[in-house]
Point group: C2
Chain length 81, copies 2
Amino acid sequence: MVVAEVKIELKKGVTDPEGMNTKKALNLLGWGVESVRTGKVFHIDLGEEVSEDEADEMVGEMCRRILANPVIQTYEITIEG
Amino acid sequence: MVVAEVKIELKKGVTDPEGMNTKKALNLLGWGVESVRTGKVFHIDLGEEVSEDEADEMVGEMCRRILANPVIQTYEITIEG
């Protein structure tokens, strides 16, 4: 079973309202955090029949086509054997 | 600068409609993925004055109090020095 973990994050400089509000909430509860940035994770089960190299390439294509918005987001793929 | 990465995911058995729809979309585009599970990531900058141990404990407390819902979600903390 080949599972890919994809982490999608906002590029530096892109406003992250959810992160800003999370920071505010944490500060109000007494935690002096400096900043919070948010992102998404996908765990994609690719079945048995793909190699790790194929998986990496395939998931890269998925990110570029539908999972991420390359204008404002970056993606990071980890293949978990 | 101590930054904590927090990965929040749905527990096994909890329905993940976003993951199910992502799987459907990937299948329609011709990728035969078996399943997709989604989650969130937070990067929390805790400033200079906390040790890694303190950071781990503090962020655990944040997860239990506001970042995660322990009934349906799990969290995983990684401290990035």
